[in-house]
Symmetry: C2
Subunit: 162 residues, 2 copies
DNA sequence: TGCTATTGTAACTAGAATTGTTACAAATGA
DNA sequence: TCATTTGTAACAATTCTAGTTACAATAGCA
């Protein structure tokens, strides 16, 4: 994958959608939970939409929702939708072609990378968004999705009561 | 791992040592094969030395060599010696603690990360530096380790003839 | 028909990480 | 003593990530 948090944020967002009772969640609501900027969320939602994991709608009553049942979305789907970097990189500059090791280490490293990729994919394919929801620790608090700026007891017609 | 090429370079360097007949290889020779700067190599060799994978010596006849047989050094050893980044990162800013999902998604993601780590480690533990050497395509050329600036037919008393 | 809220997206900034480079003290053997 | 090499600090160049602002397009609603 990479050192970025794109995968983690995507899982977070999809888990929120699976967990919430609301039909659509606004990028603003998702951003509050993730603790980031709504544009960062919207950028990610566009990538998830391209892979048909979420459906977004513009307009005053718009927002985003899962495109499938949570138990039909695996973390491998998420991984493929948002992760661009390889598990590890080869050296940016080509090794010395006149060195027997330098000239043929590349394909060997790529074989290793493929083996790692397969192992990762096997793990991720076995975990669904539904699984993630079930693994969440039950909270003693009344579940809700806050709107930016709203507090617990404030008027909160956007809260998602499960 | 990360998006860096540290792991790939480390494997390259250790493979060169295992493959070469020379007692010690200079950072300069290694740098030529990797196609990078000798200081980059030396920095990496220091990390490998800390984990007892290589032994380096200063001085005019110095250089670095493997600390063990190539079949006793696994890619997992290399991975642990040079790789610092996690497989994937959580979001840099803590999620909203007042959101049931935000407050408990972290440990779930860490569980996933642990599962991935175990899968990667299983793959890497099964591959030794010796295996990497054996996977190299046999070169029709006479094996050598070039010195910086030297060409094939030039005087090359530093070449490693296997 | 306008009004309002929301998405999609471009453009830019700030900060961090990676790699490359120069420089030099310390070590080692000849 | 001298040449060579490592170890290491300091810094530059480049790239990547995340954050931010801005705004056109969209869609529901009074």
């Amino acid at each position: 994958m990479s050192t970025s948090s794109r995968f983690a944020v995507a899982v977070h967002v999809l888990t929120l959608m699976a967990w919430s009772d609301e039909e659509c969640l606004k990028s603003d609501q998702l951003a509050v939970s993730v603790n980031t900027n709504p544009v960062v969320i919207r950028r990610m939602l566009c990538e998830l939409a391209e892979d048909n994991l979420v459906i977004s709608q513009t307009g005053s009553t718009g927002g985003s929702r899962l495109a499938n049942d949570p138990d039909r979305i695996t973390l491998l789907d998420v991984y493929r939708a948002v992760e661009t970097a390889e598990v590890f990189s080869l050296h940016p500059k080509r090794p010395d072609r006149d060195c027997p090791v330098g000239s043929s280490i590349g394909p060997v490293l790529e074989e290793v990378r493929t083996e790692i990729d397969l192992a990762i994919e096997h793990v991720l394919a076995g975990i669904t968004i539904r699984d993630v929801v079930l693994r969440l620790k039950p909270s003693g608090r009344r579940p809700e999705v806050k709107k930016r700026g709203s507090r617990d007891s404030a008027n909160n017609k956007a809260s998602a009561v499960v």
